[in-house]
């Protein structure tokens, strides 16, 4: 899939995941809570998956729980941390550029009678560590949420520079499998689809962190119900495989991102390359083009074999622009996010850069946006 440049939205199943999944269908079908042989085999697989993921997270196996998907993991991370607080209706502090799942959780906290406060970002999408810390130290704040890095523009957040008196929820969706995790964490949430696993969410709660499931009580763990063990096994196997070559692959992709960041403004007039040029994820690069309809740009690129995503309002189901771009003060129209993966070569990037200027020019001409 050389033209698939939307890795941040998910990857096809990693070959290692596929193999592990098929094997676990035979060995991991039973309820891991049962004491019979089939249950014990399922339990062994689940425990091994927890251990593998915990090793990558730098945590203990009993700190790791698997959710149905990344969104569920983020909801559980945020709402469970709030529910674990001495005052479960206390305030949540979060950045303005969190994943929409975190913002949804914040809104549901508000709807339940809780409080929330948002911390803004600079033009690169970065939160100021001192400002975030100050906001989290206000009386009545019981939890905080700051992503490890932004999913739309790749900017890395100063999570390690925070000094918080409350538990922190860190969304590591785009960081896990791509870049080092923050040195300290309380509650993490991630998504296996990002590294070539099936639809599995990862929730990790540090020992000693107060967290209480935002669900009816269930004695089987933090997420109610029987986990989908073949999917969990596949997710863990893929993470271990991808993590083994992470540093080299990140360096390669980061150089390609650097190339796109340098070439796009050279090749296309009136374009803003977004996000921090240095403190960024290795695989994401985003830019906005003036006088360009994002939907037309996506369709035209798709027609030429390139899949990208966009934060432009015309490409969203709600017809509102990306809250991340708005918070940064960035141009929201003509927005393109390119996200790389191990299957994208230098030649693929060259081909994308060869096609892009004409595509932008065509979309501008279609709108009559010439000579402005």
């Amino acid at each position: 899939m050389p033209g698939y440049l939307d890795a941040a939205a998910g990857l096809p199943l990693h070959p290692v995941a596929r193999e592990a999944y098929l094997a676990a269908l035979d060995d991991g079908w039973a309820d891991a809570g049962r004491l019979h042989g089939a249950g014990r085999r399922a339990r062994l697989l689940l425990d091994a998956a927890r251990e593998a993921v915990a090793a990558v997270l730098g945590g203990r196996p009993d700190e790791v729980t698997f959710a149905g998907n990344g969104t569920q993991a983020l909801h559980a991370a945020v709402l469970g941390t709030l529910r674990g607080a001495a005052d479960p209706l206390g305030a949540l502090v979060h950045s303005a550029v969190e994943h929409s799942a975190v913002l949804q959780a914040a809104r549901s906290h508000l709807a339940a009678g809780g409080a929330a406060a948002e911390v803004g970002v600079d033009a690169t999408g970065r939160v100021d560590a001192a400002a975030f810390t100050a906001a989290a130290r206000v009386d009545g704040v019981v939890a905080a949420a700051l992503q490890a890095a932004n999913h739309e523009v790749g900017t890395v957040q100063p999570v390690d520079d925070l000094d918080l008196p409350v538990p922190l929820v860190t969304d590591v969706t785009q960081t896990l499998s791509r870049a080092p995790l923050p040195g300290r964490w309380d509650v993490l949430a991630g998504d296996a689809r990002i590294w070539g696993g099936p639809s599995v969410g990862v929730l990790a709660v540090r020992t000693g962190t107060r967290w209480r499931g935002p669900y009816p009580d269930d004695d089987r763990g933090r997420i109610p119900g029987v986990p989908d063990i073949p999917s969990v096994v596949a997710a863990a196997a893929a993470l271990r495989a991808v993590d083994a070559t992470r540093a080299a692959e990140a360096a390669r992709q980061s150089a390609l991102v650097e190339r796109i960041r340098a070439e796009v403004p050279r090749l296309i007039p009136d374009v803003d390359v977004l996000g921090d040029p240095v403190r960024r994820l290795p695989h994401i690069v985003t830019f906005s083009c003036l006088y360009v309809d994002g939907e037309a740009l996506l369709s035209e690129l798709d027609r030429r074999g390139f899949a990208v995503s966009s934060g432009s309002s015309c490409t969203s189901s709600t017809l509102t622009p990306s809250h991340v771009l708005v918070a940064m003060g960035a141009l929201t129209s003509g927005n393109v996010r390119v996200s790389l993966h191990a299957g994208v070569s230098e030649q693929d990037v060259d081909e994308f850069l060869a096609v892009l200027p004409a595509v932008v020019a065509d979309v501008r001409a279609e709108l009559g946006a010439t000579g402005l």
């Binding site: 009136d270 003036l290 432009s312 017809l319 929201t332």
Partner: protein, 73 residues
């Protein structure tokens, strides 16, 4: 000068603004009335990218958001 971009979806409001710009003198202002939720952030970004001044965001008499921009060059 007022540009009516009601009902126009992104990126049309900033296109309307860019087209109307030559009709005001350097130093004068132009106001865009636009109900698209992307117009506010995009007109501010347009000012920054094209070297003009974002003066103020207000509302027209009918409640439609309006954005005043000063032509600087």
């Amino acid at each position: 000068m007022v540009v009516d971009a009601r009902g126009r979806r992104c990126p049309l409001p900033i296109l309307d603004l860019a087209r109307a710009l030559p009709s005001v003198a350097v130093g004068d202002t132009i106001t865009v009335e636009a109900d698209d939720p992307a117009a506010g952030p995009d007109i501010r970004a347009w000012c920054r990218m094209r070297g003009h001044e974002f003066v103020a965001a207000r509302h027209a008499d009918d409640g439609t958001p309006s954005y005043e921009v000063r032509r600087l060059r």
